[in-house]
């Protein structure tokens, strides 16, 4: 549960030879009977595939890193591994700070409860006590601009409102490391702008961020370094401008192939 600290004190995140193997049954076994039948027949085979292959990465304090790549290349999986939701099959991850995973906003929201109750529930999941959340409550509500709807069950919220609430909570707890997964694409334009400003503010304060996005504009403006993950492996790592250029060219080629 608790992570070991990075060896080098300048680093906040150290990822060493991390690989992750999904060990999934080739067909989903839904029942006990099927399981035993197959076990007896000796047909209990698993399809193995590596969703992450040999990732090595070091992120310094205050650095912001972007992860880019096609769908299914393993960006989110890497984020989840860093957040500790998934455990690497091989290798080690060392982390020296608190993490707020913004992997899917409003993860752990209880649709039947009111927005107010959900603030505390989500806070608890992120590791904050009721007292701490009470202190932050007002600023969360203010940021989310949902003052009038805090007592409504969130099943009646629109997806945009949910995203606002989720973002406001996750950002307001001011973590050392922010893991952001394609969440800036939700919400209306003014709110998106507000989120960007907030993230920039956090970065200026020295928060470390790992950022997954398909918007190359955001990547360039927010992150100095970019990692391009291709086919579950590290493909390019370096200055954002260069990697993004290369990635865009790669995408163009793909596009032309499709057109043909």
């Amino acid at each position: 549960m608790t992570k070991s600290k990075p060896h080098n004190k300048e680093n906040l995140i150290e990822i060493e030879n991390v690989s992750l193997k999904y060990h999934q049954p080739s067909e989903k076994l839904g029942s006990l009977k099927e399981f035993f039948v197959r076990l007896v027949k000796g047909k209990l085979r698993y399809k193995e595939f590596w969703v992450l292959k040999d990732i090595n990465l070091q992120v310094k304090k205050g650095e912001s890193l972007a992860l880019i790549g096609l769908n299914g290349s393993g960006k989110t999986t890497l984020l989840k591994t860093i957040a500790g939701i998934l455990e690497p099959t091989k290798g080690q991850i060392r982390i020296g700070g608190s993490i707020a995973p913004l992997i899917n906003l409003g993860a752990g929201f209880d649709m039947e409860s009111s927005a107010k109750e959900n603030v505390f529930l989500n806070g608890a999941i992120l590791g904050y006590s009721k007292k701490q959340m009470k202190a932050k409550y007002d600023s969360i509500v203010e940021f989310a601009e949902l003052k009038d709807s805090m007592n409504i069950p969130i099943k009646n919220f629109s997806s945009g409102m949910l995203a606002r609430l989720g973002f406001a909570i996750a950002v307001d707890v001011e973590p050392d490391i922010l893991l952001v997964d394609e969440i800036l694409s939700v919400g209306d334009v003014p709110f998106r702008q507000k989120c960007m400003t907030k993230i920039e503010e956090l970065l200026a304060k020295g928060t470390t961020m790992i950022f997954v996005s398909h918007s190359m504009g955001q990547v360039k403006s927010l992150c100095k370094k970019t990692l391009w993950i291709k086919d579950n492996e590290m493909y390019r790592y370096g200055d954002s401008n260069e990697v993004v250029e290369e990635y865009l060219e790669f995408c163009k080629e793909l596009e032309q192939k499709i057109k043909k």
Binding site: T2, Q24, I103, G108, E117, L121, I125
Partner: protein
């Protein structure tokens, strides 16, 4: 109890082990004083426990609210539900089994509320990993907290049921004994026993969804094989009798009745059996739960 589980959790978790191992390596290189190492480990453990307790509290609150959401009587149902069940059972069975049992309504109610602890904890734990997949897939929450939160919900429910039990005792003029206070001693055993089964089932259910249906039938059978509305002696022998006597729930139910109705403290051997089952089941369930820990995320 909670503390010991968190402690076990920490020791069993790989990180706990690696921390220990890492500390050993450190010792070779730097020779960190033992005191500091101890402090560091302790701080990590406390930090983790504190965070888990926040989640635990929030989950209990959520569970409890979800239970009676949208109903007019709300929390009152926790008192009413066992009462009404008892009324049904004593209305149907008082002429069949009730003869010769003093204060039959109290007898039935004692059995029902003890069995309800088991029912609630196990059935809620069964689906808790799958049901909370949204949380587990996207945030980092200790899995073991989820079944545990169900136990707290069940304990709160038990206390409300206990109020209704006292009402019934007053109505049928069942004399009170001081041994009623011994409930506090028996309750943890039943809760631990149920939690053990809950852990086991939660683990199993993530891989085989059939378990849900099996278990609901099994639970009904289990209920009938527990002397809830009859006495073990009415069965009069045979295989059923043997099963009833081996059934750990029989011990719990009987012990609870002894302290409520008879004013008798269960014997030392009975305590040994109760806590033996409790610790044994909890350890077994928890180990199964822990050992499969890494696989859950792939199945939920």
């Amino acid at each position: 109890m909670i503390f010991s589980i968190f402690w076990l959790n920490y020791i069993l978790s790989k990180k706990g082990l690696t921390t220990l191992r890492r500390n050993k390596q450190k010792e070779k290189i730097k020779k960190t004083p033992f005191k500091e190492r101890f402090k560091e480990g302790g701080r990590e453990f406390l930090d983790q426990t504190r965070k888990n307790s926040y989640v635990l509290r929030a989950m209990v609150k959520k569970n409890f609210k979800a239970q009676y959401r949208g109903s007019f009587l709300g929390i009152l149902w926790t008192v009413l539900n066992p009462l009404l069940n008892m009324l049904v059972l004593s209305f149907v069975f008082s002429n069949i089994f009730g003869r010769g049992i003093d204060y039959y309504p109290v007898y039935v109610l004692c059995g029902t509320i003890i069995f309800n602890i088991l029912r609630q904890i196990t059935t809620q734990s069964l689906t808790c990993l799958v049901g909370n997949s949204g949380i587990l897939k996207k945030t980092k929450v200790a899995y073991s907290v989820l079944p545990m939160s169900n136990t707290f919900t069940a304990i709160v429910n038990f206390f409300f049921s206990f109020i209704s039990l006292i009402f019934v005792m007053l109505i049928v003029k069942q004399p009170f004994h001081w041994t009623i206070l011994m409930t506090v001693v028996i309750l943890p055993a039943i809760v631990m026993f149920s939690l053990g089964i809950g852990y086991f089932l939660a683990s199993l259910y993530t891989f085989f969804r059939d378990i849900k249906h099996f278990y609901s039938v099994g639970l009904t059978l289990w209920q009938y094989l527990t002397p809830i509305f009859y006495t073990a002696t009415t069965i009069g022998g045979g295989i059923a009798m043997k099963v009833i006597n081996l059934n750990p729930m029989t011990v719990y139910v009987t012990a609870f009745r002894d302290i409520i109705q008879q004013g008798v403290i269960p014997s030392g051997i009975n305590f040994l059996i109760m806590y033996g089952w409790a610790f044994g089941m909890l350890l077994f369930g928890y180990l199964v739960f822990k050992l499969n820990r890494k696989k859950y995320i792939l199945y939920i």
